[in-house]
Symmetry: C2
Subunit: 332 residues, 2 copies
């Protein structure tokens, strides 16, 4: 009998297949079928974005955040990269019988702080307690509604060969901070999750020259690049030497045999911008505290070869595929 496995939830190829063949096929509608970070919906002739995400991270507290902060930032960022100002959140918690009240309070205060930073309100909530062993401590689902920026003009169909690919800073920090916090590894590291709400950064750069944005979470930068390439029907090439990675992440991921390009991020936006405006957008990004290490990392290529290529530090070029099997589970 066919079983669902961890690999069906890792953001990679198997998950994409399951989502298309089971969910999108059966629940088909014009909004869902676009499979964006958030759905662009139409309510009484107003354009809104709407998204949801469940957070099952282990451990629930990690350097740079906790499941509460993450559950706000994750949904806020999905709204932001869809070109919207986040407005309202819902929050559903499922907690294990015997969970510490103090931890629940700390998580709630993190949610409060992240909401204040993001300019959103939790307006709808649900709280469930299940028996011991029926959930691993606490899972949180958030959904969010955003109002589309009037000066945003995002659309995969606008992406053209020659467009530039940009990111707002170092990759891989979130996944490794979480891994080290699990204490299964006896590493000491100063790596801190990049978990942050991107509404400020994005509202400071949003303009018609930005053609597409996505946050490289599960599956990392490499998987997100592949999604974009698949959806826009163009190849993409990126330069390894231009992709910002901190020294600590380089060292630790090399020691663990992991590739930072496949590690999850929680405060990064990958942007596609027109070639003529990319450097102007880059300089605006660098002025924001969450964009200081922003970089142009590559460009959109032609429509004949729809693959993602990495030009390595040593000058060779290799195909960068989607994540196949898990590097690291439960990081979001």
């Amino acid at each position: 009998m066919k079983k669902i496995t961890l690999a069906h939830g890792n953001g990679g190829k198997l998950m994409h297949g399951l989502i298309k063949d089971l969910f999108v096929k059966n629940l088909s509608n014009p909004f869902l079928n676009k499979m964006g970070d958030a759905a662009l919906i139409d309510v009484k002739n107003k354009k809104l974005t709407y998204t949801t995400d469940s957070f099952v991270i282990k451990p629930i507290f990690f350097p740079g955040g906790d499941i509460g902060k993450l559950s706000v930032c994750g949904t806020v960022n999905d709204l932001c990269v869809s070109g919207a100002r986040p407005r309202y959140l819902s929050c559903g918690m499922i907690v294990e019988d015997g969970f510490d009240y103090k931890d629940l309070e700390e998580i709630t205060l993190s949610i409060k702080a992240a909401c204040e930073k993001s300019g959103v309100d939790v307006v709808a909530g649900d709280f469930k307690v299940v028996e011991k062993g029926a959930v691993d401590k606490i899972f949180i689902n958030t959904s969010g509604i955003g109002e589309v920026f009037s000066n945003a003009a995002l659309g995969m169909d606008r992406v053209k060969p020659g467009d530039k690919v940009m990111i707002n800073g170092n990759i891989g920090d979130h996944a490794l901070a979480v891994l080290v916090a699990r204490e299964e590894l006896k590493f000491k590291s100063k790596i801190v999750s990049d978990c942050a709400p991107l509404n400020g950064l994005i509202s400071s750069v949003i303009c018609g020259d930005i053609k597409f944005m996505r946050d490289p979470t599960r599956g990392g930068l490499a998987t997100t690049l592949n999604e974009i390439s698949l959806e826009c029907g163009c190849g993409i090439s990126v330069n390894e030497s231009d992709i910002p990675v901190s020294g600590s992440v380089k060292v630790l991921s090399e020691a663990l045999g992991m590739d930072p390009l496949y590690l999850a991020n929680e405060g990064k936006a990958l942007m596609i911008a027109s070639a003529k405006s990319a450097s102007k957008i880059l300089s605006r990004m660098k002025k924001h505290p969450l964009g200081k290490k922003s970089a142009i990392i590559g460009e959109v290529r032609d429509r004949k070869d729809k693959r993602v290529y990495l030009r390595t530090m040593i000058g060779t070029t290799r195909v960068l595929d989607m994540l196949q099997s898990d590097q690291l589970p439960r990081i979001c």
Copy 2:
């Protein structure tokens, strides 16, 4: 150290306390503070309702439905009783490693069928897989957006002494159907969950004379009556002989020492309507397939004694309190 227990999630007194003292206090905003079934939000000057619910029911398949159908109906009904036409849903699934694909498919098809019946689309989704033992099979969170009916005028502040209390049929079926399906009890019963989307029934009766609606799920009819009494500041009295309960539910709940008034329902709406219009609304409710057994079960009393009273079959009157400790966990 203070711990969260199952009683914090049963819909009763402890849960109400926790939600007020921890969540509403810390995440305070005008929309959340109203603590309605759905938040009434304002987006670009349009009135919308927004709600969320997590579904952790055990077993996931039961007579009359499954976790998929329930997760659509639960959120659709929260939007309906808030006086809105349900439009868009989000759906976040958390699945255990090793879960049967066939079951996931069946649940997805139930979601599809329930969406079609409710006139909603799932426009945003999320799918997570966690290790074996980290979740009990599958949990589903849905959130939903509804458009407020132009002819609805719901408001707890409109509830006045003399108003009639109505319900659209038998209570207790959902909770007992689920209990029997657990197979821990060696009962045989023909009780089927009342799980159903209420959009059709409610849109057929909605008018300015309906002052308030709520669906009596966790905590049952008694708890919902207490919530209403607390929030509107009036007493309420209901007549046991007028409350519709099926013969099977009466027999089984008596055998188990359970009170149907505290059992969860998933296809019921409790309505408060003005005295002069109640019988007209009742006859309209009875014309709908989900309202055939509708009844006026009691009335709103004065503002001095803010308690809920039950006039029993044998003619005595007793205070009907909120659910305190659990009768039955994980029924929604």
